[in-house]
Symmetry: C2
Subunit: 208 residues, 2 copies
């Protein structure tokens, strides 16, 4: 590490940088609030700026375009999700699997608009080249948790990464269809179906 080569920035410069960061966060929060209240279609540059009593171009002092703001919002979401999963994986070994699924579900429905932005919104840099760090990290947390559960049962996963992808896909499918209102019986039944299918699905991922 060869830091500490730069001269200490002045007090006022530090203050302004802090203010800039705060402004950036406030813009992100405003976007999220508007989305949760009126859906993503209502999230417009002018609305975001207006909510903070600024004019539209202020956004371009903090993001190169609207897309970048969305991507950053998604990254906040993935970091948040990873944390929730990590917490859920701390419980008793028997209940961990269900706890994680419940945590995933709770996260998704706590802010559906954010969940939708994280999954499915097009124009986001996922498949293209390299998956952003926050998303990768969420997967990592998931994998470690699943491995821990298998270990607590005295066995291991046949294919750890494959198990994560498979179970994640299932959870996402359940949440996604439930959120779109595509499962008869509403979210309560969807949640039950998901939790019921979870255990056999996990068991099939263990080494014989």
């Amino acid at each position: 590490m060869t830091t500490k080569a730069q001269p200490e920035p002045s007090a006022s410069k530090k203050r302004r940088e802090r203010e800039r960061r705060e402004m950036r966060v406030r813009l992100l929060e405003a976007a999220r609030v508007i989305a949760s209240e009126e859906g993503w279609n209502a999230v417009t540059i002018r609305r975001i700026a207006g909510k903070l009593e600024y004019s539209a171009p202020i956004l371009y002092q903090h993001f190169s375009n609207k897309e970048e703001l969305f991507v950053e919002l998604m990254m906040v979401g993935f970091a948040d999700l990873a944390e929730q999963l990590r917490l859920a994986a701390e419980g008793s070994p028997e209940g961990r699997l269900v706890a994680m699924a419940e945590a995933y579900w709770a996260f998704a429905f706590a802010s559906p608009e954010l969940y939708q932005a994280m999954n499915g919104m097009d124009g986001v840099p996922f498949g293209t080249a390299e998956t952003p760090w926050e998303a990768k990290n969420a997967f990592r947390v998931f994998r470690i948790a699943l491995q821990g559960i298998a270990e607590a049962r005295g066995t291991e996963l046949a294919d750890a990464s494959g198990a994560v992808d498979t179970i994640w896909a299932f959870l996402h499918g359940c949440v996604s269809l439930a959120m779109a209102g595509r499962i008869a019986g509403g979210t309560e039944r969807s949640r039950t179906l998901m939790l019921n299918a979870l255990e056999p699905m996990f068991a099939a991922q263990l080494r014989d």
Copy 2:
């Protein structure tokens, strides 16, 4: 039935009505082509009309707005999917389950832009009130097929509707994440993971 009360429409009137229907279909096709070539963001009223060498407002002679065109496109998709699933369910009893999953997968990746429009695109009348007929029908075909597979094994589904929702959610989750490039190893590995997890998942849906 008390039809045949109306006077027979004149020949030219019939011709114009047919032309109108054809125009409607051509607009839908144009939208689909543009979406497949450049993504949904490129599907604009002027582009659709321009592709047929018409001016923009022509679209409003056939759809009340852009949304309605999208919804109709989705319905075409669901009808198509139902047909594919029905065909897949005609094979040998042992291979039917896998065939259906493969059919679902193939349908999704044959026209990803349509699949994305069918799932996840917001502003569509799904959760709100009544699910449109085409979507319901696709579910029905799925259910009948699953029941047939269970029957061929000499047993039955513990909860037929629940099994359809559960397995459909899983397939959708796999396709959705794979399409977004969110599964390491690409679509080939995604597909394999999906097919591997399918059998134990189905088995868990059978009556004990």
